[in-house]
């Protein structure tokens, strides 16, 4: 398991470009970058989660499927889990406790912790995101994983806690060790957003050239 070190800025930028390269609209790609950075800052596997998500068949409006309208009782169908990025965005946009948590299986469930961390910091509340075999506590001061990490897709639930178990992992800003294989896949997806070089584009280009010396 080879690791490579990346800064939080690189993580955010690459995850965003990768999501776009995978077909997400720009607004959702921004959410992917935001979530990856936030999770990694708390020692949660944001890069690996986004990597697994983008490779997973999932029900998502960006991907041409059905959006997760949990409040209206829609569930993932035909074996497809709901897109964790879409569900994360849904949680982020409103009160997480008022969003229905009967979504069925969610792909990339750890992404939801990103929204809960933001809500915790904003409201002072403490949330627990649970999946079979484990959970993550999201508190204003940081987070803590309890039990096993989630599978790439899992049914999840959210509840409010009165207090957070200690110790919590606060956010840090130093570089993160991420899986090199996951990072490479994200970079490969990000490369889909670049326009291949041609002699014409190189000449028309962006700025200074040898003739300017």
């Amino acid at each position: 398991m080879t690791l490579t070190r990346r800064s939080l800025s690189e993580i955010r930028a690459t995850a965003q470009k990768a999501a776009r390269g995978a077909g997400c609209c720009w607004g959702m790609a921004e959410e992917a970058g935001f979530a990856a950075r936030l999770l990694e800052a708390h020692d949660l596997a944001g890069v690996a989660t986004v990597d697994a998500l983008l490779a997973a068949p999932r029900a998502c409006a960006c991907a041409g499927g059905v959006a997760p309208r949990g409040g209206q009782g829609e569930r993932a169908g035909e074996g497809r889990a709901l897109c964790g990025l879409s569900v994360m965005a849904r949680l982020s946009d409103g009160d997480p406790l008022q969003c229905a948590s009967n979504w069925g299986e969610v792909a990339g469930p750890l992404l939801l912790a990103g929204a809960l961390l933001v809500h915790a910091q904003r409201t002072g509340r403490i949330f627990e995101l649970s999946w079979p075999g484990g959970s993550v506590i999201c508190a204003p001061e940081g987070c803590r994983v309890m039990g096993a990490l989630p599978a790439d897709r899992a049914a999840v639930s959210i509840q409010l806690l009165d207090a957070a178990p200690l110790p919590l992992v606060p956010a840090r800003c130093d570089g993160r060790a991420v899986l090199a294989s996951a990072w490479q896949r994200l970079e490969d997806l990000a490369a889909r957003t670049y326009v291949p070089e041609t002699e014409a584009s190189r000449a028309a280009g962006a700025g200074p050239d040898a003739a300017s010396q």
Binding site: S92, V118, C173, A200, S212, Q213
Partner: protein
């Protein structure tokens, strides 16, 4: 201070005005140098290991207010045919890293393996800035030759170029493994936008002077002389700035708003003053005199800039006459009256120069605003999902009327597209009808996105909330986020169509560079320009000499040339 009247975004955020911005006392270079002086920072050069060919390494140590930073410089022997300012270059005359703290021999060796590679290498959390620079060959050779022979270089040639080396990139904020911008949070002086980068550039300038004197000594031996202080101060660090900087203003709207708000608040505070004082009148007068002299010597070969400069020279003459005959600074609310006059009588470039000059003598009133120019962008990311769509529709009309009223169907309205090239991820601007890649365009299409949102809202259930709307319309999420931000950050959006055939990316570059503190804007095309940084500034060994900010050039040109013109 309440009740201030800031200039409205409708006026301030047009590209033509943004592209006429000048450096002010809130510009980052100036904030850094004032902070170094006021904080009693000390700079030493612990290492100088450069050989007779000009190849080797050096370090510059900066210490103050409980902190230490070290600039590590590598000098290379670059074949002339490899010298290029493009992002796609692979080797340079000199490469640099600004390190957080002291550096050990192991650090130097690690950096020696990576810094000269720039984007192809990796740096660590201990590195704050990664940069590189190329020589101005003509001036470099001239200065070395003269100093080696025991004489000073020709001031006219010095003034014509203005720098011995120019940086072609100054990377910070976590790029290529460097420390995240949050690493400097809470640190005196260094917690602010681009402070580390501006510190690095100032130290690079010191290295460049030291290197050219070293090469002169190598060639001339005991006959060589150091560069005269006034000539050394007349040199800045050049910079070639291309399109890479342009998307920044669109991709960091909260930060853009913070910068503009600080500047506009400063202007409003000054305008709210009931009277001037002898000190503020004298300070403005000195700044204006300097601007007139400098504008007289500010030359460009580009037709766009030539036209601006012609207008600016006329503006200086008009303003000079006005100040002499009407004595507006002796009246009530003098600064408001002066700015109001400039709006009626001067070009946009002249108006922005007056706005910048008015801030100069009011440091006690406005310098605190420099600490409000940073933003926690993560905290401003989230969408307000509870807002109803009828309010969104009203807000869109109120805040993005400039976009909704554009005719994007006319042929030139979407003629351009912004993209990232696979070649070293260089940002570029293409012509939609003639070039490939438009399907991969970057999202700088704010006007088009605003119109698309407007169309979607016109057929939507307006009692719906944003959260429900974006679940089935995720393509509008980005625009909704910008709309939400703009509600409380009115200067977050450039109010022009960035896809239009007539778009001048130069204007975007100039705005950001003015906030850096750059002068001597010299466009070379519609999408790149050369500027000079720290021209006139003290070096580390005389940082604490003289009056604060005495080095600042107003109106942007070389003091040497201005002095030559004055003598003619």
């Amino acid at each position: 201070m309440t009740g201030l009247s800031l200039r409205p975004p409708q006026q301030v955020m047009r590209l033509s005005r943004l592209g006429s911005a000048h450096q002010t006392r809130l510009s980052f270079m100036r904030v850094v140098l004032r902070g170094l002086r006021r904080g009693g920072w000390q700079i030493t050069r612990p290492l100088w290991k450069i050989d007779a060919q000009g190849v080797g390494r050096a370090t510059y140590r900066v210490a103050g207010q409980g902190q230490v930073y070290t600039l590590v410089a590598f000098a290379h022997d670059l074949p002339p045919e490899q010298r290029s300012d493009r992002v796609i270059a692979e080797s340079w005359d000199a490469t640099f890293a600004l390190v957080d703290g002291e550096v050990s021999e192991d650090d130097l060796n690690r950096l020696a393996d990576n810094v000269p590679l720039q984007e192809a290498g990796r740096v660590s959390d201990r590195e704050l800035v990664l940069s590189r620079a190329n020589r101005s060959v003509r001036l470099w050779d001239h200065v070395v030759e003269r100093l080696a022979s025991g004489t000073q270089p020709d001031p006219a040639i010095m003034a014509e170029v203005g720098y011995l080396m120019r940086t072609t990139a100054v990377y910070g904020s976590g790029k290529f493994g460097a420390a995240d911008h949050a690493a400097l949070s809470g640190r005196a002086l260094m917690d602010g936008p681009f402070r580390a980068e501006m510190l690095a550039v100032w130290l690079i300038r010191a290295f460049v002077r030291d290197l050219v004197e070293h090469m002169a000594r190598t060639r001339g031996g005991s006959a060589a002389v150091p560069l005269a202080r006034d000539l050394a101060e007349s040199l800045g660090i050049g910079n070639s700035t291309g399109l890479g900087m342009a998307p920044f203003l669109v991709n960091h709207p909260a930060l853009l708003d913070a910068w503009i708000t600080a500047r506009e608040t400063a202007l409003a505070r000054v305008c709210a003053q009931d009277a001037s004082t002898p000190e503020t009148r004298a300070g403005f007068g000195a700044a204006f005199d300097g601007a007139c002299a400098n504008v007289a010597g500010w030359h460009s070969a580009h037709p766009l800039q030539i036209a601006k400069l012609d207008a600016l020279r006329e503006d200086c003459a008009r303003l000079s006459a006005y100040l002499r005959t009407d004595d507006p600074l002796g009246a009530e609310q003098p600064w408001a009256a002066l700015y109001s006059w400039s709006q009626r009588h001067l070009s946009v470039e002249g108006q922005e120069l007056v706005a910048a000059l008015m801030l100069e003598p009011h440091g006690g009133l406005i310098d605190d605003l420099a600490e409000k120019m940073g933003v926690d962008e993560m905290a401003r990311h989230c969408l307000d999902g509870a807002v109803r769509l009828d309010k969104v529709q009203r807000d869109l009309r109120a805040q993005y009327d400039w976009a909704l009223d554009l005719d994007l169907e006319q042929p030139d309205a979407q003629a351009r597209f912004w993209y990232v090239s696979a070649a070293k991820q260089e940002p570029r601007l293409g012509r939609r009808a003639q070039e490939l890649g438009a399907e991969l365009e970057q999202p700088l299409d704010i006007a088009r996105a605003a119109q698309a949102l407007g169309r979607a809202l016109s057929v939507a259930d307006l009692t719906q909330c944003v959260a429900d709307f974006v679940m089935t319309h995720p393509e509008h999420r980005r625009m909704l986020r910008r709309l939400h931000l703009n509600r409380d950050a009115p200067y977050s959006e450039i109010r022009d169509n960035l896809l239009d055939d007539a778009i001048l990316p130069l204007n975007m570059l100039r705005l950001k560079l003015a906030f850096f503190g750059a002068t001597r804007f010299d466009p070379r095309s519609d999408r790149w320009l050369r500027i000079t940084m720290y021209q006139g500034a003290p070096y580390p060994d005389d940082l604490h000499d003289g009056a604060e900010d005495a080095w600042v050039l107003h109106g942007g040109a070389a003091p040497g040339r201005a002095g030559q013109i004055a003598a003619e």
